[in-house]
């Protein structure tokens, strides 16, 4: 069976591949990079049966180098490995300049993502959490569109400001732990167990929780902290958008589920109403604004705002089913939005425009493209049978039973379901239907099928047999909620 060394390998492998790719020659770099990404993906797959793994070593002084793998982190690592593989494969043909640097940055990004997903120690987590910004900053900044400077600055400062505030909250947490126990530890498990037994003063806890939530909310992004997202997406290169939407945004929701709420679930329940309100505003705003976009990437970006609103709603409503749904929806959104960005990239590479008006009638000239687009769009609007439905259904069903906030929010969120169809079909109609005025486009070749086939298969595989993901996740969630309920009982 796998032991803790697996964790260490998992953790270090992306760093290793970053180095390899950075040092490889210009021509070979891209394929070396894809090979490394594939190796990492396989390595990740090996751990499929793992339920819980820990690794701990002293890092420095009070801080431990705790690595911790469970189903919450595992599937996101898998997603990250998968999407990185796909987007790097996609980039092989597209990126012709500074290839080694480009691929190395993606691997570095992967390293930070995996690092923060595996970390048990809060400080360590934070380090990776912030370090994530740097590769993304360069990816958008160097290979991005014309307004990339503004976009990167906004993206960076927004996120940086939020996460620094979280740093204060985080330090406060573990300083309080130190002051109450006399020992230093920033290990999440230790802190959670301790504060579970000895609850923090609620006044302080509230603020710490808010600092965490602010940081995560910016990353997610929750309304009203979402405005960096459309800009960043529009300017980012396709692969950057895929990873940004597919993986980085998930780090925020992951942070909520992994750190913020388990540590401070009292505050989470206290603020549930307000946070649900923000989520719902995000859902509706995202949908309505997406509807009015003419830039395809912006449309998808706003749709992300809307979708992430569903996820946060599921989280903040604090029900088991909601959490399972939210977790699944994180993966779903990663797949469907990642695929959408890839599709837009496919078009953009041929026509060099993202204006929705420039397209039309593509279903005629690009039937296979149209098929995949429609399937992904359906997954995005949560048609039953696709993955999106399972997540959204569980989120809404779970949230409806919530005791911490009114289920009126769910009904409002349901309006978002309608609007989701509106903007997605708007996109589909404008792109695929109507008079065709771009005849000379090429349809999918083998390179595209290599990654669209698994994506489409996953859409249905999760939609019809979600239990292979939901099962392990549910175990984790149930354990977590048992902890909450014992707390409430006391």
């Amino acid at each position: 069976m796998l032991n803790e060394n697996y964790l260490l390998v998992l953790f270090l492998f992306p760093f290793f591949s970053t180095l390899i790719v950075a040092l490889s020659r210009h021509r070979a770099a891209a394929w070396v990079s894809v090979a490394m990404a594939f190796a990492f993906f396989v390595l990740t797959l090996i751990g499929f049966q793992v339920h819980e793994l820990r690794y701990s070593a002293t890092w420095f002084g009070n801080l431990k180098y705790g690595l911790y793998l469970d189903s919450y982190s595992y599937f996101l690592i898998l997603l990250s490995a998968f999407l990185t593989l796909i987007s790097l494969f996609y980039s092989v043909r597209v990126i012709k300049e500074k290839v080694a640097a480009y691929h190395a940055l993606f691997h570095a990004l992967q390293a930070t993502v995996v690092g923060s997903l595996l970390c048990d120690d809060l400080v360590f987590f934070y380090i990776f959490w912030e370090a994530m910004l740097i590769p993304m900053y360069f990816i958008i900044g160097i290979w991005g569109g014309p307004r990339r400077k503004y976009a990167t600055l906004k993206f960076f400062l927004f996120t940086f400001a939020g996460s620094l505030l979280m740093l204060i909250g985080l330090i406060t947490t573990y300083v309080i732990y130190f002051q109450q126990t006399g020992t230093w530890s920033a290990s999440f498990q230790t802190l959670r167990d301790y504060f579970h037994m000895n609850p923090m003063n609620f006044e302080i806890q509230k603020w710490i929780f808010l600092s965490f939530v602010l940081s995560f909310a910016i990353k997610i992004p929750l309304f009203p902290f979402h405005t960096w997202l459309p800009d960043a997406h529009v300017e980012a290169p396709t692969a950057g958008s895929v990873i940004l939407a597919g993986v980085l945004l998930k780090m925020g929701t992951y942070g909520l589920m992994r750190f913020a709420i388990p540590l401070f679930h009292e505050s989470a329940e206290y603020f549930a109403g307000a946070l649900c309100f923000l989520s719902v505003v995000g859902i509706i705003l995202g949908a309505l604004v997406a509807w009015r976009q003419t830039d395809i990437k912006k449309l998808i970006a706003y749709s992300s705002v809307s979708h992430l609103g569903f996820i946060t709603l599921g989280i903040f409503m604090m029900t088991e089913a909601g959490w399972n749904g939210a977790y699944l929806q994180m993966l779903n959104h990663g797949l469907s939005t990642g695929a959408l960005f890839l599709l837009v990239g496919f078009l953009y590479d041929q026509t060099h425009t993202r204006d929705i008006q420039a397209y039309g009638g593509l279903a005629k000239s690009l039937p296979w493209f149209a098929l995949v687009t429609v399937i992904i769009a359906l997954s995005s609007i949560a048609l039953p049978g696709t993955n999106g439905f399972v997540g959204e259904f569980l989120i809404l069903l779970g949230s409806f039973q919530s005791k911490v906030a009114s289920n009126g929010w769910v009904i409002l969120a349901g309006v978002g379901v309608i609007l989701g169809a509106v903007y997605m079909l708007h996109l589909v109609q404008k792109l695929l239907y109507g008079k065709s005025h771009s005849e000379k486009l090429k349809d999918f070749g083998w390179r595209e099928w290599v990654f669209y086939v698994p994506l489409v298969i996953l859409v249905f595989a999760i939609g019809i047999f979600p239990e292979w993901i939901l099962g392990p996740v549910r175990e984790k969630t149930t354990a977590m909620f048992n902890l909450f309920s014992t707390f409430a009982a006391r």
């Binding site: 309505l288 009015r292 089913a321 098929l371 379901v417 019809i464 239990e467 939901l470």
Partner: protein, 628 residues
């Protein structure tokens, strides 16, 4: 039991497999293979259904696998509930579906997307079967949305026309509004019963003992379901999509927008009838909604010139009848009408399709006329259909409609009765108008018409026979018949039996006479008015209202769509752009401006720097003084 499971799986999977096959390989195989394949698949599915129909006694549940586990003690299964209600509709779906497939092989001949069309059609059959057979609400919802999707895909099948694409989108979105209600209903029911399985919910209702809170949620669920049903079955206020849906190929209109999908709302309400019985008020709402829709749609149908639009409004109107019946506690009557309607409306649509096909896609009735000579088979088949829908005895339409009218008239609600009878008259009138304008008088079009190929006429004839004889399935006992359907469904739904007495017999006879009279009057009036049609319609301000469909589309557009667009714009430019980004950019430029202003301090004059040192010191000194 294992056989049943296999049959059920096959029945559903065959169309699904077909759907993938035709999409993937349609272009490669050629039309012939596809048409034969598609029809064969459908017939196979129909045979499976038939097997189940005869293999099931009372009811059976077939469980395949666990789909979504909601919590440790609740989960959603992929499982079927095979009972009279579902099997009957299943038979109609696959049966009529097969016929329409056959018809479509002729109708769609030569279309470049032939394979795609059958792929969608098969997918629709799959979804519809899921809807009908599923034993959990979520499974039903899967079918529910699935048929919506297929409807969307098929309406915008000829997507090169922007209008078709928009019509498809409209259908999907309006359906989504209904689906939203359905979803809320599922949540509310889960809240109350802790399960989404339909039999479990029904048995829990039978047990009773609901608390006030649970009653509240069940009421919410009823409203949600009504919204859902009205979306799918095109009832007021969500009827607007159906007329536009005629943009799709005619077989689609026949199959989806007349015979099967749109009746899903009725099916749903029948399925969960005990729940509605629990909340009597909701049934009332359904009844009035149905009545109103019936009258409204009939009044609009009179003034439509597009042959398919007339039929579309007619469909809405007939669905209104079904809702009326369900609302008044006569689900069997509704179901019966559903069935006969499936026959005669499919017939009418296919007939219309045949006409359209013959006239090279001309749909305006003003440009038809006198076609009975060129298209005799179509003409005769259509005649049966028209008579059936107009309620001329002893055709099926007469029997089923009469049952509904009977229910209405004995319910004691005068308003509803008036609506129902008025609708019956108007139905006969506009159908007569259609009939006369199409087949009589002089030909007003440009193209020469030909009779349709055998694949189409064969289907027309078959359906005509079914429409004529369908009434026998539930011929009232009062008139010495055998209420087959009633008996069959009695285990699933509750309907008051009509006592057999001479008084009742007289009453029903009177009623039947009156309704046939109304039908004949309508037809006669249409004959008189349109026999020598010269292109002039009724002109009056009030008719304008009818002609414009009561301006409901415009109203929605102004009240909802435009406002939402406006709000989207405001949220984008106002909230995101002006408020949030404005604030942030303001923060940025403010800081920059401050930085620039402060940069002015760097004059290069050393003494000015020293002055600042002095001032800083002074402030410290002042601080020291105040602290003291």
């Amino acid at each position: 039991m294992a056989d049943l499971k296999l049959l059920a799986a096959l029945c559903v999977l065959i169309p699904l497999v077909g759907s993938t096959l035709w999409f993937w390989l349609g272009a490669r195989f050629g039309e012939k293979v596809v048409s034969i394949g598609a029809v064969t698949f459908l017939v196979a599915s129909f045979l499976c259904m038939l097997g189940m129909f005869f293999g099931v006694h009372e009811a059976a549940r077939v469980d395949f696998f666990e789909w979504i586990r909601i919590s440790s003690n609740a989960s959603v299964h992929f499982s079927f509930l095979l009972d009279p209600l579902s099997l009957t509709l299943g038979l109609i779906v696959t049966g009529v579906g097969s016929l329409i497939h056959v018809y479509a092989t002729g109708y769609m001949k030569g279309d470049p997307s032939f394979g795609r069309f059958f792929s969608y059609l098969n997918l629709f059959i799959f979804s519809m079967l899921m809807l009908v057979l599923s034993d959990s609400l979520v499974g039903l919802f899967l079918g529910w949305e699935g048929v919506g999707l297929c409807s969307y895909l098929l309406i915008s099948f000829w997507f090169s026309e922007e209008a078709n694409a928009i019509a498809g989108k409209k259908a999907f979105v309006v359906n989504r509004i209904g689906d939203f209600g359905f979803l809320i209903a599922i949540f509310a029911l889960f809240q109350v019963f802790g399960t989404v399985s339909i039999p479990d919910i029904l048995s829990a209702i039978h047990l009773g003992n609901l608390t006030a809170d649970q009653m509240f949620w069940s009421k919410i669920a009823c409203f949600g379901l009504i919204l859902g049903a009205s979306g799918k079955s095109a009832q007021i206020p969500l009827h607007i999509w159906l007329p536009d849906a005629m943009a799709g190929p005619t077989p689609v209109s026949a199959l989806i927008h007349a015979a099967t999908m749109v009746t899903a709302g009725v099916y749903l309400i029948c399925r969960l009838q005990p729940l509605f019985l629990l909340n009597g008020g909701s049934l009332e709402i359904i009844a009035y909604m149905g009545g109103l829709t019936a009258l409204f749609a009939a009044s609009v149908a009179i003034f439509q010139n597009d042959i398919k639009k007339v039929l579309a409004y007619s469909t809405i109107s007939q669905l209104g009848y079904m809702f009326l019946a369900v609302g008044l506690g006569a689900p069997v009557a509704a179901y019966f009408h559903l069935m006969t309607h499936a026959f005669f409306k499919a017939l009418l649509f296919l007939g219309a399709g045949s006409v359209i096909h013959g006239l090279h896609h001309e749909q305006n009735m003003h440009k038809m006329g006198g076609l009975r000579k060129q298209m005799p088979i179509t003409f005769w088949a259509m005649t049966v259909g028209v008579l059936a829908i107009a309620g001329i005895p002893p055709l099926s339409g007469f029997v089923s409609k009469d049952e509904i009218l009977h229910t209405v008239s004995t319910s004691g609600r005068t308003a509803l009765s008036v609506m129902a009878f008025l609708t019956a008259f108007m139905t006969a009138f506009y159908m007569g108008r259609l009939w006369v304008l199409t087949f009589f008088g002089k030909f007003r079009g440009h193209h020469e018409a030909d009779e349709s190929p055998l694949s189409m006429t064969f289907v027309l004839v078959t359906l005509a026979i079914l429409s004529a004889l369908g009434g026998l399935l539930n011929w009232p006992e009062l008139w010495g018949g055998h209420e087959l359907l009633n008996e069959f469904l009695s285990s699933v739904v509750v309907q008051k039996k009509i006592e057999i007495s001479s008084e009742a017999f007289h009453h029903s006879l009177l009623l039947a006479g009156f309704s046939s009279l109304l039908g004949l009057a309508g037809l006669g009036l249409a004959w008189l008015r349109y026999r020598n049609f010269s292109g002039k319609e009724f002109e009056a301000p009030v008719f304008n209202l009818f002609k414009k469909k009561y301006y409901i589309d415009e109203l929605y557009d102004i009240a909802i769509v435009r406002n939402l667009k406006q709000i989207g714009w405001i949220l984008w430019k106002g909230v995101d752009g002006l408020c949030i980004d404005g604030f942030l950019n303001g923060l940025g430029t403010g800081t920059t401006r401050l930085a620039n202003r402060l940069r002015g301090m760097q004059t290069g004059l050393a003494q000015q720097y020293a002055v600042w040192v002095w001032i800083g010191f002074l402030l410290l000194l002042f601080g020291a003084w105040t602290v003291r």
